[in-house]
């Protein structure tokens, strides 16, 4: 087996065409996870009766099992569930007609929600209690204080963590190839097995992921500088 350097470029061009699917599989779950995570974090911080128990269990389970499990459980579980419900209520929905990518997106969204909720929680806790008190003292109610004072600071402080999660989920989206999604790793696998050049294809895929990670880190650094401009820490 020798390494065909030129083929890396050929594979690169082929694989990068699957970039939109990888980005869809990264960004949509994170957007959904943002909402889930925020809701779960607020439920856990305010210790909402009954719901906080469910929220704790959800976060613990999803952080305690591999993400490939979530994908597989939803990929095999949801069709059964949908067919049962469809049969019961005569909806006429066939699980076969639902594209697999929707199951993957659902699974990744639930995972992202669990991971993001922990980041929101630590971000909100890290905002000093005096901020909340100051907001109350100028007559804001809890909702206003949370959305106008605490959350903006919590989110700004959590930007490095959000970047880690973004990069983590960019990499996690590669698991989708196991349920035969043609995202970048899936594309690399196809290029590799049709040309029997495995190493070259995965080098190309690795380079693309690496490049995307470096871009994401750079962007995050710029956004962080802008978002935390109000706070220069101990240095004045």
């Amino acid at each position: 087996m020798t390494i065909d350097i030129l083929f890396i470029w050929t594979a690169f061009k082929e694989i990068i065409r699957a970039l939109p699917i990888t980005l869809i599989l990264t960004i949509l779950p994170l957007l959904a996870g943002f909402i889930i995570g925020l809701a779960v974090a607020l439920i856990r911080i305010n210790k909402v009766k009954f719901l906080s128990g469910i929220a704790n269990g959800y976060v613990s389970f999803f952080r305690g099992t591999p993400i490939i499990m979530h994908i597989m459980l939803i990929y095999f579980g949801f069709p059964l569930l949908i067919d049962q419900i469809s049969k019961k209520f005569d909806l006429g929905i066939q699980s076969d007609s639902i594209p697999i990518i929707l199951f993957v997106l659902t699974a990744l969204s639930l995972s992202a929600g669990a991971y993001l909720s922990e980041i929101f929680r630590s971000g909100i806790i890290s905002v000093s209690n005096g901020q909340m008190e100051a907001a109350y003292s100028v007559g804001m109610n809890s909702f206003q204080a949370m959305t106008r004072i605490v959350l903006p600071q919590a989110i700004a402080q959590s930007i490095p963590n959000f970047t880690n999660i973004f990069i983590g989920f960019l990499h996690t989206s590669s698991i989708a190839f196991i349920v035969s999604q043609k995202e970048m790793t899936g594309a690399a696998n196809i290029v590799a097995s049709t040309n029997l050049k495995f190493l070259e294809s995965f080098i190309a895929a690795g380079l693309i992921y690496w490049g995307l990670t470096i871009i994401a880190e750079g962007l995050s650094f710029l956004i962080e500088k802008k978002a935390t401009a109000y706070n220069r820490g101990g240095v004045q």
Binding site: T65, W210, I214
Partner: protein, 235 residues
């Protein structure tokens, strides 16, 4: 698409699958120990800014943090035999398990290196000065004073990293390793009860992760027992 869902099978599958937990733990233990060696060595190269090697380590860490573990697994699986063939060593018949251990060791090494680097920097410089003042030389003060303290500081992050690695090891089956996931795949092929198999696997992974978290928390309390409350570093 499989047969009707049968919840009792979830319990029935657990003994068969848990038998292969050993392989998963073997991958984890070997890769964490190797990763620890790589990580500490890489962190030392970074902290002391050894020329050339420092840049090489930066590149290595950036690459590992910049690519999915799945891609790393494939790169080692297909790349290592190709590289070793240049020096006339044929390892293409080697058990896939070793490729998995090498990949996870390299991946853990990069993550541990970053954790250790932060932890070494977090140790107060006064400790080194105190070590010098009692007559220790550079390497004595580093290995006897600074490194042991940095391990205590690094522990919570190392523990998180190990748990992450345990979850990542579920991808080893993609190159044909017979660990819990791999056995699960063959069970599915034999019984066509995919959902039940994955539910049993999820139960086992969850239980192991919870157990690990518990053990790590106890150990963390133990290594922090000499710390007064206000300065102890707890994750």
């Amino acid at each position: 698409m499989g047969k009707a869902f049968d919840p009792s099978l979830i319990v029935d599958f657990i003994p068969t699958l848990i038998y292969y937990l050993g392989v998963t733990l073997q991958i984890l233990t070997a890769s964490v120990l190797l990763g620890m060696v790589i990580g500490i060595a890489a962190a030392i190269l970074r902290v002391f800014r050894i020329p050339v090697l420092n840049q090489f380590v930066i590149l290595y860490i950036s690459f590992i943090r910049g690519t999915p573990i799945l891609i790393q697994l494939f790169l080692v699986f297909y790349g290592l035999p190709a590289i070793l063939l240049f020096i006339n060593i044929d390892i293409s018949r080697m058990d896939a398990l070793y490729f998995v251990i090498i990949t996870y060791a390299l991946s853990n090494g990069a993550h541990f290196a970053e954790i250790f680097r932060g932890a070494i920097k977090a140790v107060d410089y006064g400790q080194t000065e105190a070590a010098y003042s009692v007559g220790m030389n550079n390497s004595q003060s580093f290995f006897r004073i600074v490194l042991p303290q940095s391990i205590r500081i690094a522990f919570p992050n190392i523990a998180n990293s190990i748990i992450g690695s345990l979850k990542d090891s579920s991808l080893a089956f993609t190159i044909g390793v017979m660990d819990m996931m791999g056995r699960g795949e063959t069970l599915i092929a034999a019984t066509a009860h995919a959902l039940e198999v994955y539910l049993s696997l999820a139960v086992i992974y969850y239980a192991v992760v919870l157990l690990f978290e518990k053990i790590f928390r106890l150990y963390e309390n133990r290594i922090n027992r000499h710390q007064s409350v206000d300065v102890s570093v707890t994750g």
